[in-house]
Symmetry: C2
């Protein structure tokens, strides 16, 4: 290593993440990226190689900064009861709107729609992140299950459905759905999670 890098690559990637989060992949041009990341063309290409690599770095950073902490919070028994942890998780989409008027949705969900279909690298990461979240949900639900004596199959069903509701909420928020609708869905699903499944 001769001349050291003058910018913090993590900071730059974080800025790229913000850009890609709001717009999609194609919406953000290289010029947007250079301005937003406060980098010159040469620096960006030396550091990342190509636009696609910046995108993947941003996705990986989202994993590290958002997805993994979210999954960890869901799994953390010290953070409250299973139901409390699930409530916090499910309220995140509404909370983003409520506290910050943030309607960007979830970068992971956006990427799933935007790029996962056409880009294998993105798909791989998206599926892995979804699985991580599902795993966190499952652990939180396991706590609830212990109180009710639910069989593992019930936990599995509820965990996967909760993931779907979460994704749906994030997309509906991005689409501009009214906050009270988002709140209603959040509360309603949380209720079904605490209910005892009925034998049919």
């Amino acid at each position: 290593m001769a001349r050291p890098r003058e910018f913090d690559m993590d900071e730059a990637t974080e800025r790229a993440m913000a850009l890609f989060w709001s717009g999609g992949y194609e919406d953000v041009s290289l010029a947007d990226l250079l301005e937003g990341m406060q980098l010159s063309r040469g620096s960006l290409y030396k550091a990342y190689g190509e636009k696609h690599a910046v995108w993947l770095a941003a996705l990986d950073l989202y994993d590290h900064r958002v997805v993994q902490p979210t999954a960890a919070a869901l799994s953390d028994v010290a953070a409250g009861s299973g139901l409390v942890r699930l409530a916090r998780f499910l309220d995140a989409p509404a909370a983003a709107v409520r506290t910050g008027d943030d309607r960007r949705g979830c970068f992971l969900c956006n990427a799933a729609v935007d790029r996962a279909a056409s880009d294998g690298d993105t798909r791989e990461r998206v599926l892995s992140m979804f699985l991580n979240i599902e795993h966190g949900i499952r652990l939180a639900l396991a706590d609830v299950a212990a109180d009710h004596g639910w069989p593992p199959a019930v936990v599995d069903k509820k965990a996967k459905t909760t993931l779907a509701v979460y994704v749906g909420l994030r997309v509906l928020v991005r689409a501009g759905t009214a906050l009270d609708t988002i709140d209603t869905i959040t509360a309603a699903h949380l209720e079904t999670l605490s209910e005892i499944p009925q034998p049919s």
Copy 2:
């Protein structure tokens, strides 16, 4: 009207819809559009005016061809019991994969993520279509509610949550989620719809 149009505009729009459905708005270039719609540049611009108008026409066609029939099927008492209609509706995401390996998801949901945030014309249409689907779900649920004596608030909560699950399913499908996971979510949510809500 002097010289009549040589192509069927509805067919052309349908081809545009297919293109935009698979890729996003930005992913589909004008060249892609011309080839896919089998039109020359002159014809396209005479008929639509600009790329954005083709996109909106495609969205509107999706509304006509998919969303409205879906909402109508949910509302149609002759099509089966409320629960049967809901089951058909909720199974659509899984059925697309099962019968046609179709992982494009739902054009409406894709558009919600892709363009609704940045384009008001798209957002307006997306929100309206979501409301139409929610309305159809509500009507189907009203049938179920009648059998159980649910209050309107319960129907509302379940209708909105069902919309969220539907959107989540479509996105998960597009992301490449395994079919059995999709099936599990579909079945699980359907179960909660038929359950009697428990007083807490």
